[in-house]
Symmetry: C2
Subunit: 340 residues, 2 copies
């Protein structure tokens, strides 16, 4: 007949239940689960024992309501099927987890579907967001209005300033182009990414500009970042000219891989003797023996680390100014291209 029958508690224990069980006040229980709060060691132990006995876990929802910190961060990612993003997502999730932050995941079917999810982002009162998708100025402004810090990942803000982490596409593409030109390639093909991809456009423009500066021609077609786009892009490029394509610059590794396969298998080219093909990202498959794609590897670990720390800084110090961090990629000279 005591207050704590050992039956299975159907409803989950609250801090009051623990308090009663331990013979203290609810405040004491609360403080027990709060970093650096003032609780006597004896009391703390007693409370923790009761908590264990009752299977008590503080309700993060209730805590969030009063502290106005949900300890959740939204991660908004355009297409998880991109090979590159799963790696990024895993890194981000683990780094945030270490910092005691939970991830509310929003995955978009298309790069520009952000509006559909923002509504939910606002409702869940996330403390911040890491966005690897296209944000237009009004969407960015919405984050600012609500005081929700954002860090853009491999995107930059259009119009407004915003915190962002990027891999330096420009110097990366320049390095690739220079290597290819030095090796004597003359006629270049470029397979771009989809029009709404920021990095894709940047990479292609960087390549085009450098090629132009170095006096080389380039044909260009648009792809969709997937394997198939590599092959179809190559085919399209070859139909655009009667001359011999020397080198192929793809906006990402996956298209480069598709192009390599198509070149070797459908066209029976020797890659890189007949055609040099380069990519961008440095995803896992790019290193596979069959490909060994010459590419620029994004420093994912450093980039995710930066994204997380920038976000946390802005959560803790709301005033922090926008900052863009640009990381150099590492040129991986593989076997898919002849470089000078």
């Amino acid at each position: 007949m005591t207050s704590t029958p050992p039956e299975k508690a159907k409803a989950r224990a609250t801090s009051y239940d623990v308090a009663r069980h331990a013979g203290v006040s609810q405040s004491a229980v609360s403080r027990c689960f709060k970093q650096g709060a003032s609780v006597a060691p004896r009391t703390r132990e007693k409370i923790l024992a009761s908590a264990r006995a009752l299977n008590y876990y503080p309700n993060a929802i209730a805590r969030g309501l009063i502290t106005k910190r949900s300890n959740m961060v939204a991660i908004i990612i355009s297409n998880l099927t991109n090979l590159y993003y799963p790696e990024v997502l895993a890194e981000l999730t683990q780094r945030l987890s270490v910092k005691g932050i939970r991830v509310l995941l929003f995955s978009l079917a298309a790069e520009s579907d952000v509006d559909d999810v923002l509504d939910q982002v606002w409702r869940y009162r996330v403390d911040g967001a890491i966005v690897a998708a296209r944000l237009d100025p009004s969407q960015l402004a919405a984050f600012a209005d609500r005081g929700v810090p954002v860090v853009l990942y491999n995107r930059i803000a259009e119009g407004l300033p915003a915190a962002s982490v990027c891999c330096d596409s420009i110097s990366g593409e320049h390095a690739l182009v220079e290597g290819l030109v030095e090796a004597g390639h003359q006629l270049f093909g470029i397979i771009a990414g989809p029009a709404d991809s920021y990095v894709g456009e940047e990479r292609v423009q960087a390549a085009q500009m450098r090629l132009h500066q170095l006096g080389r021609e380039a044909l260009i077609v648009r792809g969709n970042y997937d394997y198939e786009s590599g092959g179809s892009g190559l085919r399209d490029l070859m139909q655009m000219t009667s001359r011999k394509l020397d080198a192929l610059i793809c906006a990402n590794d996956l298209m480069a891989i598709g192009a390599i396969d198509c070149a070797r298998i459908n066209f029976e080219f020797d890659v890189p003797q007949d055609l040099s093909i380069v990519g961008f990202d440095g995803v896992g498959p790019a290193k596979w023996l069959a490909y060994q794609v010459t590419t620029v590897r994004q420093p994912v670990r450093r980039m995710t680390e930066a994204a997380v720390s920038m976000l946390i800084e802005r959560i803790e110090q709301p005033g922090t100014l926008p900052e863009q961090r640009l990381f150099a990629g590492e040129l991986l000279a593989g076997q898919s291209a002849r470089l000078g």
Copy 2:
């Protein structure tokens, strides 16, 4: 000097703010955002206008506190770098999103690191969980104790019954083995998955059993589900015997791909003439021209659809009994193996 100066509201609007602005009670505002509540059309419009004006979004945290439904589901996934899981994750997220459910993502470094995250799962009061990681009986019991429905993905419960969705490894492997045997292969190698992978063990056992029944020998080594394991596994197998390995059965596609590359490039084998190699999963790269892996494709769309609907059913009707749904895989006869 009215009650709503058009300045930027620093603190986010609450239902009270909207109520005041619209000249109604807070209850009315609340009802406006609740499906099928009784609100007069005129009132609703007025309130929605005020909500828009004040940039009001209902606080899902506060709602969750009172309704005891967070509308969040935990997805616990072991290793996102596995190629197979990103696809699953994207599917799950989008299906849940359509149902108005948010995803709290927990990604594990290793299959058996679940304990580290369960604590957080309890705290966030998720309505349910989809788990693609190893759960031991006590962990499963913890879910049951707390009344949190779980659906296991490609895992089955050890000890206790639990809802689960799986791809039928056994019939899939049997089909592969039978095809290989019919084609006349004699000496088989098997590259298993890591010991803590449920499906990996199941696949390997199924293959072994069928091989045994059909009177074929099999050598076996253990891999780690990654590309490198394919090559090293093949090398190890070849060192285990002086005879000629006919066929190689890999517990997943990624290892099959690694093995194909190693066989072709390092050993200069003709795959499949010299050596047949099969995988399992049907991930994207398995279809690439360079590989065209003979494999069993998991019906990911149907499996994720099932996982989501089973979970929702159990969230809405807590009593629902455990159920195991087993989906047949589709044999994809590629170019990496000679089948009978």
